[in-house]
């Protein structure tokens, strides 16, 4: 399994494809909230449903996300 090197915002991850979170930025308390929910740097994430909000799957847990301007999550898509 190799990874593409270009990070992209999580919203651009195609449906049913996987990626690794490489960076999270934005309002500190919002980022903290995300981390408490298990959305952290280094986590593998799969896109279940794209759009606004999107539905992602992290470690078997589905989380719906619409962060607006408060935070950004960047992922590197996994290429098999």
């Amino acid at each position: 399994m190799i990874t593409d090197s270009v990070p992209l915002p999580i919203e651009f991850l195609p449906c049913d494809s996987q990626g690794t979170i490489v960076e999270m930025c934005g309002r500190p308390c919002q980022v903290q909230r995300l981390e408490e929910l298990g959305i952290r740097q280094g986590c593998k994430v799969r896109m279940v449903c794209r759009g606004e909000p999107c539905l992602i799957c992290i470690e078997g847990r589905r989380i719906s996300l619409r962060l607006g301007d408060s935070a950004d999550i960047f992922v590197v898509p996994t290429v098999e």
Binding site: C29, V31, V48, C49, E59, I63, S64, G68, S70
Partner: protein
């Protein structure tokens, strides 16, 4: 090392805490059975659930704390959890053990909360629940290794299958009976916080101490980490305004020292968790979509998801219509039996009138609708427990953002369809204050279960029973669904206006976990339905009972009923004689029977005349005629006007009031009929029917939009801590209701 000093016979307390959707409710039920006491924490509106541990020699109370991901104390729920666990809540001692429930299939994230609870200094038991999913998801978890590293008992359970519960019970008893120890500070995740932070925490703790505020170390940490956190606000409110400057300065020093607040906390805690579970938890790499994912692709689809939601709601409301019919007939039959029994034993008079016309026709009329309410709550509980409601919130987020709210507002609004009180209380999960206020103000517009009796009565009496699709879909069911949705439809522009003018701002972010689909637990559903039915019946027995007695008295007095009672007694005597009179072909007997029949007819006319005269001249009749000009534009007569006004404390009262007014006011020959029939036959002085389709629709629209619920208004008062918002809700909803009812009446009048 402090030791437990509580005697064996006194009641001990343990608390249950965990992330949402970790099976906490199932575990609580498994430990305590179905005898939980539900109340509020003193001074705050966070729900407190306490049960007694079953199957134990000791007397142990189990407190079920609200589900939370962290003890960061950003919301009231989280602050209560910290206060309960640290024993800082008034009139409540700290629990002796904190039982932390963790989803065994998602250990890493769940240990985050554990790491915080562990720092509070209480003895802790870690429960790895949903153990059955560990294997199913291709995980291996070595619980013994984790227990050894942590130095606390770790119990594996599958609460939904009642597995591991006995072991947990034994562990609780053993922990209570063994000497209490505190974890070494090096064992805590806090030990991994930067050195600069430890120094600042120490300084702040000393400063608080010197200002007479002895504060636990955990709270000091929270003061430094959570910007604008709950504890900072409460210290400020208690008069210690200087705390803000102290915290700001400390944070600035931390920033200079390179300590990123609040990010260092999650980093340190996850680092601690990684060391704890290193080698003890392994996860198989899974790439394929699970069955939940496949279902989600449809249920969360932009358009298909919305369509499915509308379809589910349609089926729910059609079922309420169909299924409730039989139990309702049964209740009506029992009521008939009770009235007949009382009439046979008691002579005509005030007491008999109070029991038959007040209690049975009034309160009984409300109890009649228990089946519908039970069915609605059943559906809502099923949809919630199987995981669908969270998906509906996801689908609705797009729609909600168009009025400036987020999907988070959807769940409180949906639960307001059952009852606005828990709905308003559920708005506490919305972090954005503006969104919370808008949601809270539009929640009473959602059609709650107390409106169902009004709709069902009006729809069954005045909407034609036309059926479509081979009898599967009925027009009455469609109108019922329309009425259920009207409040939600009106709420859209209301929310938009509120958000635009009173609470302007961007929609809050939407961040919510959707738990995997599961078969709904029958125990949980039974509990929810039972709780709601009991509270509905209790309301009928208290508030509605009292209102009914008042209405009955206002209908009965000041008229002189002697003449009427005499006439009724004579009439009943004649009817009894007629019933046992021999059927004979003899001329004299036939004549005698005919004379008696004529006498009965005359007496009946007299009784009916006396009844309507007495009600017209009663206190209620006089008041009703006064208000008639206000309600006439809506197509109502004085009886409806009075019934509507009487139902402002609780909307179900209208059924009781109409029941009493019609039972007292209608003729003796119609008394055995249902309220529905009596309303259909009611005539105005000019001979036109009182109720037409237009009148019925106007009443229903009024009820759909009006704030007729004192409990809801009191809840708004409590949640907003101000009288301004309940008054605002009352005024805007009543105005909307009057205009809506007027427009509806005009539309249906011109149409018919």
């Amino acid at each position: 090392m402090p030791t437990a000093t509580v005697s064996e016979t006194s009641t001990r307390t343990v608390a249950l805490i965990g992330n949402p959707n970790t099976g906490k409710s199932s575990l609580f039920n498994a430990l305590c059975g179905l005898n939980a006491r539900v109340g509020n924490y003193p001074g705050v509106t966070v729900e407190q659930k306490v049960g007694r541990l079953t199957g134990s020699k000791l007397s142990i109370d189990v407190i079920d704390l609200p589900g939370t991901y962290s003890l960061a104390a950003r919301s009231a729920d989280e602050a209560v959890a910290v206060n309960v666990l640290s024993g800082e809540l008034a009139h409540q001692a700290a629990p002796e053990i904190a039982i932390v429930i963790l989803d065994a299939s998602n250990i890493e994230r769940n240990f985050y909360l554990f790491s915080q609870v562990y720092e509070l200094g209480l003895p802790v038991i870690a429960v790895l629940n949903m153990w059955d999913r560990v294997e199913a998801e291709g995980l291996t978890v070595e619980a013994e290794v984790i227990a050894k590293r942590l130095g606390v008992p770790v119990v594996c359970t599958s609460a939904n299958k009642r597995k591991g519960i006995d072991e947990l019970r034994r562990t609780i008893e053993q922990t209570l009976q063994s000497p209490r120890t505190k974890p070494a500070s090096a064992q805590l995740a806090r030990a991994q916080f930067p050195e600069a932070f430890h120094q600042e925490a120490q300084k702040l703790s000393e400063w608080l101490h010197s200002n007479g505020r002895k504060t636990s170390l955990y709270k000091v940490d929270r003061l430094l980490i959570d910007s604008d956190g709950h504890f900072q606000k409460s210290l400020c409110q208690s008069g210690l305004h200087e705390i803000n400057t102290q915290i700001e300065q400390a944070r600035e020093r931390l920033r200079v020292a390179g300590c990123k607040v609040p990010m260092f906390e999650t980093k340190a805690r996850y680092g601690w968790i990684r060391q704890l579970i290193d080698g003890a938890v392994t996860r198989k790499e899974t790439r394929s979509a699970s069955s939940s994912d496949r279902i989600d692709q449809w249920l969360t689809h932009r358009w298909v998801g919305m369509l499915i939601f509308a379809l589910i709601m349609f089926v729910v409301f059609q079922s309420i219509w169909w299924v409730a019919k039989w139990p309702m007939d049964g209740i009506q039959w029992i009521q008939g039996l009770a009235s007949g029994g009382i009439e046979a034993f008691l002579p005509p008079g005030a007491l008999r009138s109070l029991l038959v016309d007040g209690v049975i026709a009034g309160v009984g009329g409300v109890v009649l609708f228990v089946p519908q309410i039970a069915i609605l709550f059943f559906f809502i509980a099923v949809l919630e427990d199987c995981g669908y409601m969270a998906r509906a919130a996801f689908v609705m987020d797009k729609l909600m953002t168009s009025v400036g709210l987020s999907g988070k507002s959807f769940l409180p609004l949906m639960s307001s369809f059952a009852c606005a009180v828990p709905g308003i209380m559920a708005t506490r999960t919305i972090e954005s204050r503006k969104d919370r206020m808008v949601t809270l103000l539009i929640a009473p517009l959602m059609s709650c279960s107390a409106r169902i009796p009004v709709y069902v009565l009006m729809v069954s009496a005045f909407v034609p029973a036309i059926k479509y699709a081979g009898g599967w879909i009925s027009l009455q069911g469609i109108v019922l669904m329309g009425m259920q949705s009207i409040g939600a439809i009106v709420a859209i522009p209301v929310a938009w206006l509120l958000k635009r003018f009173l609470f302007p701002g961007e929609p809050a972010t939407f961040l919510m976990e959707l738990h995997s689909y599961k078969w709904p637990s029958m125990v949980v559903i039974y509990q929810r339905v039972w709780e709601r039915v009991v509270s509905f019946v209790a309301r009928a027995g208290s508030l509605i009972f009292c209102t009914t007695i008042l209405i009955w008295a206002a209908c009965y007095f000041p008229g002189d009923h002697r003449l009427l009672d005499e006439s009724v007694a004579t009439l009943e005597q004649l009817q009894r004689t007629q019933a046992i009179a021999p059927v004979s072909l003899e001329q004299t007997q036939i004549e005698e029977n005919q004379i008696r029949e004529k006498q009965i007819e005359e007496k009946l006319g007299e009784v009916n005349r006396l009844r309507s005269e007495l009600i017209e001249t009663s206190f209620l009749g006089m008041a009703g005629h006064r208000i008639e000009p206000i309600v006439r534009p809506l197509g109502w007569d004085w009886k409806i006007g009075v019934a509507v006004i009487a139902s402002f404390p609780a909307r179900e009262v209208i059924i009781a009031t109409l029941g009493t007014i019609y039972s007292l006011g209608t003729g003796e020959d119609e008394k055995s009929q249902s309220l529905q029939d009596q309303m259909q036959q009611a005539r105005r002085p000019d001979g036109r029917p009182v109720f037409s389709l237009a009148t019925a629709m106007s009443i229903m629209v009024f009820f759909a939009l009006c704030a007729q619920c004192s409990a809801t208004l009191m809840t708004i008062r409590r949640e907003t801590n101000s009288w301004r918002w309940p008054i605002f809700s009352f005024v805007y909803m009543t105005t909307l209701a009057y205009i809506g009812a007027w427009l509806t009446y005009q539309f249906f009048e011109s149409w018919s």
